[in-house]
């Protein structure tokens, strides 16, 4: 086969599979944003079967500000980073924490939200009796963090903790509670919620906003958040939008839009709409 024929076949083949994405440093006119669609109220499928939630509203707002036409799609959590890298979509907005490990492969905008972790348990359990605390503990402050962890540990001894696989929350649970409790990994948080309700597991670890939404449902009337909220350290630097490293123009545009959305109170408004709490990052 001549080289020209091969090139022609290759070209035909490529138009067949998909048009190569523009990756230059110029701002694209159209992008695809991927979310998970199973993490209420950040992103979820509503009762009409449509994507909805804080990040859906925020994505639409950021797209309007940057004048980019956006399509939002749902994608499995496990596949988000690899699929971003191979160009199945251009942006991840899926309550993903910004961490150094992830930044080895992809890039992030500045955080658009900071939301501490929370542990959900039955009210009647040892930890449930300790009750929730409004305290926020930075994991960088090792002394305070260790004291808080040590207070909770005995109550979790021999218990089963459910957490979503591939998340920083999993890394957090393994690091701080892995020596006393059994950690069970789930594909989505909705699945560990079902198992918590069924009594197969004793605790779940998610973000405070997510836990509040879960426990607002009637079947979780006997459940409560327990202990303080944790931020920073292994949990990363807040929640941001993930992008490919080479898409620098897109990142700059999104950062600017996030700045504006923080400054004019849009993030605060959306946050109160969805979470009844303010998750606006403090600069």
């Amino acid at each position: 086969m001549t080289q020209r024929r091969m090139a022609a076949i290759a070209a035909a083949f490529m138009t067949l599979v998909s048009a190569p994405f523009a990756t230059a440093a110029e701002l694209p006119k159209e992008i695809k944003i991927a979310t998970e669609g199973a993490y209420a109220p950040w992103n979820f499928v509503n009762s009409d079967g449509k994507l909805d939630g804080f990040e859906i509203d925020l994505a639409n707002d950021l797209c309007a500000r940057t004048k980019i036409k956006c399509t939002i799609i749902a994608q499995n959590w496990d596949g988000l980073i690899p699929s971003l890298q191979v160009g199945k979509f251009d942006v991840i907005m899926a309550a993903m924490f910004i961490t150094p490990k992830r930044m080895e492969t992809i890039d992030f905008t500045q955080p658009y939200a900071i939301d501490p972790t929370a542990i959900g348990v039955a009210k009647s359990s040892d930890l449930g009796k300790q009750g929730p605390s409004t305290e926020k503990i930075k994991l960088e402050d090792e002394k305070a963090a260790q004291a808080a962890i040590d207070k909770m540990k005995p109550a979790l001894k021999g218990k089963v903790i459910g957490v979503q696989s591939g998340t920083q929350l999993l890394a957090f649970v393994k690091k701080y509670f892995g020596d006393v409790a059994e950690v069970r990994e789930y594909k989505t948080t909705e699945q560990h919620d079902l198992d918590l309700a069924a009594g197969r597991i004793d605790a779940v670890v998610v973000q405070q906003t997510n836990l509040a939404a879960i426990f607002a449902k009637p079947e979780f009337a006997d459940y409560t958040a327990a202990g303080p909220g944790f931020v920073g350290g292994i949990l990363g630097m807040g929640t941001g939008a993930g992008m490919r490293k080479e898409d620098t123009a897109l990142k700059t545009a999104f950062n600017k839009a996030i700045d504006e959305a923080i400054a004019d109170g849009t993030i605060k408004r959306l946050s109160e709409k969805w979470f009844h709490a303010d998750v606006t990052p403090v600069k």
Binding site: V17, S18, P20, S47, Q75, Q85, G87, E190
Partner: protein, 237 residues
């Protein structure tokens, strides 16, 4: 549980339409995957019957591997590995940027690859089941090789292949549920979404099971008809 049955209805807050649409995607995914598998299977069967040792080894390795490893593992290979491979192939030809297959296409190719491994066995068996005298007769009539295959061998081969293909089809239909793990909203995935959203997993998985069962039963009928049709005038001994 049954007081919640309206969740499966077609009115406001009912998931009936979404589930039916997803069942359509399942049918589409399976049919396309089966068709792609026919191509892979045909080529692999030819490889297995070929006189070249290299072809035989390649074809039988393909069959052994994709019939032997869990289909879920093959799906992960195509899902995570497929785009990476396509992108590097495209780069070989001087393209820049990324090449990705849409989720449906990834599912179709994956199912095609797996079912091709099974179909190759069916075609090989069917070819060997064609009476040797038919080849001699075709030669005696001075048919060319192509004419012989098209007019004499393939029609008979298909008759022998239909029952086996029916089994592979049922396998494909059930395998298509696994494609839910890569995020394609087919029947299984839609049931999961519904179960998560309404917290009624039993109802939604039961509905999904009923839909799969219906599709399997109806398509099975189709294959039996085809089998009866293809064996018209054949004397069973």
């Amino acid at each position: 549980m049954f007081e919640k049955i309206h969740l499966l209805g077609f009115g406001a807050g009912g998931w009936g339409a979404l589930l039916l649409e997803a069942a359509g995607i399942t049918l589409l995914l399976s049919a396309l995957g089966f068709a792609v598998g026919a191509v892979f299977g045909g080529v692999a069967a030819a490889g297995k019957l070929s006189s070249s040792k290299v072809s035989r080894v390649i074809a039988s390795t393909y069959g052994t591997v994709f019939r032997g490893v869990p289909d879920l593992l093959s799906i992960y290979l195509f899902y995570y590995g497929g785009s990476v491979a396509l992108t590097s192939i495209a780069r070989l030809f001087g393209a820049t940027g990324f090449v990705g297959l849409p989720t449906l296409a990834t599912g179709v190719v994956t199912i095609g690859f797996i079912s091709g491994a099974y179909q190759s066995e069916v075609y090989r068996g069917a070819y060997l089941a064609v009476d040797k005298g038919q080849f001699d007769a075709a030669k005696a009539l001075a048919l060319t090789r192509i004419q012989m295959l098209r007019l004499v061998i393939v029609p008979q081969l298909l008759r022998h292949a239909i029952p086996g293909l029916g089994n592979v089809w049922q396998l494909v239909l059930k395998d298509s549920a696994l494609i839910s793990v890569i995020g394609l909203v087919e029947l299984m995935r839609q049931a999961q979404i519904g179960a998560g959203s309404t917290r009624e997993p039993f109802l939604f998985y039961l509905a999904a099971a009923a839909l799969y069962y219906t599709i399997a039963a109806v398509t099975d009928l189709f294959f039996s008809r085809a089998e009866a049709n293809a064996s018209r005038g054949i004397v069973h001994r």
